[in-house]
């Protein structure tokens, strides 16, 4: 009888135990389900993190919960996003604990449970007064083994201790959260990229509009120019500036570098040069002053190469100043080749460089071909550059065509040279012909 009672009693005890385990499991599952449902309904990273924090405070019955996310862009600054919520009184996490926890987690990447923080030898906290944080569970947020953040709950309410069941529950929440947070982060990154791409397209449009919309129409001369940036925006620059009825200026430049930084500098160069040219001063003086202005506004590692010319339409004289640019090619009617070198050092390097200018007379049939190194340094798959020799040979063949046709034929010849290789540098041509 007594034995039966004992057996029954044991069974009841076992059943009760099973029952309470089941209860916990059901409770855990419903917590997980609730969190999963909540966080899958939003995509904003901040909302997701806030939800996780809120739910953890509620279901784990804690005073505080915090999520710290690793900043991928800057490994040295470790954790950047910190969303923390406190249930009752607002208690601040001591800074040292923050950094010690993250340091520990970066090393160990596993759950951590502490019920007596004050006496925990791993965390040497040295703050005065009563220790505000007594207990904690911290779990890593892992994506493919990489730590992307930390989820931590602080101070079990009613002075109770954290259990290993709670540690396990928080670990599961952590692993689910990691996936959702990473997805949200990728989504946000992509959104940012799309915005950036749109901005770049707008910048490209603005830059295109900076280049002259129309070619000069002048009796006895033909002008043509073309600019093909390697990226959306570029650092090559050409311009035609009508000074007055008798004078037309033109220029062709190459800003060091590529892409947006080069494009910004190119816009600065254009504004500077245009304002100087319009004063109708000698070519070399306009370049000298532009050099000084550029020197004052750009850093030492940046520079510009620029060829500037001013044509006197009444005398057909060209005055030019070559500031470190690839020598333009002048081909006369009889096939004689000259290079326009006179000028000075690249712009933006030495503030008071004495630029000089050269002078030539345009005769009927003369062809002036200015270009950027995107042409001559265009490379094929064997790393062979298109080169100046080839360019001059080709020009001698096509020189009797119109400027536009010459441009097309040269570009075609470069394309034939590089074949399927991508265009690496901006390409710009400026062609003038005297009839």
């Amino acid at each position: 009888m007594l034995k039966d009672f004992e057996i029954n009693h044991n069974r009841v005890f076992q059943l009760e135990e099973e029952n309470s385990k089941l209860k916990i499991s059901v409770q855990e599952l419903s917590v997980l389900n609730e969190i999963a449902t909540a966080i899958s309904s939003t995509l904003a990273i901040k909302d997701i993190v806030e939800l996780i924090v809120k739910k953890c405070i509620k279901h784990l019955n804690v005073e505080q919960c915090a999520v710290m996310l690793l900043d991928k862009k800057n490994d040295s600054s470790s954790f950047n996003t910190l969303i923390r919520k406190a249930d009752e009184s607002k208690v601040d996490l001591p800074f040292r604990l923050d950094s010690q926890l993250t340091g520990w987690m970066i090393l160990n990447k596993c759950p951590l449970i502490i019920n007596d923080l004050k006496n925990d030898h791993r965390f040497a906290l040295n703050y005065s007064g009563e220790s505000i944080i007594k207990s904690l569970i911290s779990v890593p947020l892992l994506m493919k083994g990489n730590l992307i953040g930390i989820l931590t709950v602080f101070n079990k309410k009613n002075g109770r201790a954290f259990t290993h069941n709670e540690e396990r529950l928080l670990s599961i929440i952590g692993s689910q959260s990691a996936h959702v947070i990473e997805n949200a982060r990728l989504f946000e990154d992509e959104k940012k990229l799309v915005i950036l791409q749109e901005e770049l397209e707008r910048a490209a449009e603005i830059q295109k509009n900076l280049l002259p919309a129309k070619l000069p129409v002048v009796d006895g001369f033909e002008f043509y120019a073309v600019n093909i940036p390697a990226k959306e925006v570029g650092g090559d620059y050409y311009d035609f500036i009508n000074i007055n009825d008798k004078k037309t200026a033109f220029c062709l430049g190459d800003v060091c570098g590529k892409g947006l930084p080069a494009a910004l500098l190119m816009a600065n160069l254009q504004a500077t040069l245009r304002s100087q040219i319009l004063f109708d001063m000698p070519c070399s003086q306009a370049v000298s002053r532009s050099n000084l202005l550029l020197y004052q506004s750009i850093d030492a590692a940046r520079f510009v190469t620029l060829f500037t010319g001013i044509i006197d339409l009444s005398s057909n004289m060209l005055k030019f100043c070559n500031a470190g640019h690839n020598y333009p090619i002048l081909i006369s009617n009889n096939g004689e080749v000259n290079r326009l070198k006179e000028g000075g050092i690249i712009l933006g390097c030495l503030p008071n460089f004495p630029y000089s200018e050269g002078e030539i007379e345009f005769k009927n049939g003369d062809l002036l071909f200015a270009f950027t190194d995107g042409i001559t340094e265009a490379m094929n798959s064997k790393n062979e550059e298109y080169g100046e020799e080839r360019l001059i040979e080709e020009l001698l063949i096509v020189k009797d065509n119109s400027c536009r046709e010459i441009a097309q034929k040269i570009l075609m010849s470069v394309k034939t040279h590089i074949k399927d290789e991508p265009q690496y540098d901006d390409i710009t041509l400026l062609i003038i012909k005297k009839y």
């Binding site: 190459d254 030492a300 590692a301 940046r302 690839n326 390097c349």
Partner: protein
């Protein structure tokens, strides 16, 4: 690009090996220069014997280095410039500021 510093007599020789394309190397190069300057080693030779290619950013790096050294009261000279880079210096007219020697020894001697 690899940077190696050797000292000879009264000059510091910075050997630049590989392609000089600026970018991430800029900082390493300017740190090297700053260290030499703070150690009062202001006679500097850039040895380009093992540099075949230099783009505009690489050139910018050299110019910025030249400015740094000049501003500290020192001088920066080039040695063993390859033909290709020499023509780049001629076109950009940087040859008017960069003294250029065919050997490191000649460049070092020019300081005395």
């Amino acid at each position: 690009m690899k940077i190696n510093v050797v000292e000879k007599y009264t000059a510091a020789i910075i050997e630049l090996k590989g392609d000089i394309i600026g970018g991430p190397h800029n900082e390493e190069f300017s740190n090297t220069l700053r260290k030499l300057i703070s150690d009062q080693k202001k006679n500097i030779v850039i040895d380009l014997a093992e540099t075949k290619y230099m783009n505009s950013s690489g050139l910018g790096m050299l110019i910025s280095g030249y400015t740094t050294v000049k501003n500290s009261g020192g001088d920066l000279k080039l040695a063993n410039v390859t033909k290709k880079i020499e023509s780049l210096l001629v076109i950009t007219k940087l040859s008017s500021i960069f003294e250029n020697y065919s050997t490191v020894e000649e460049a070092v001697k020019s300081f005395s």
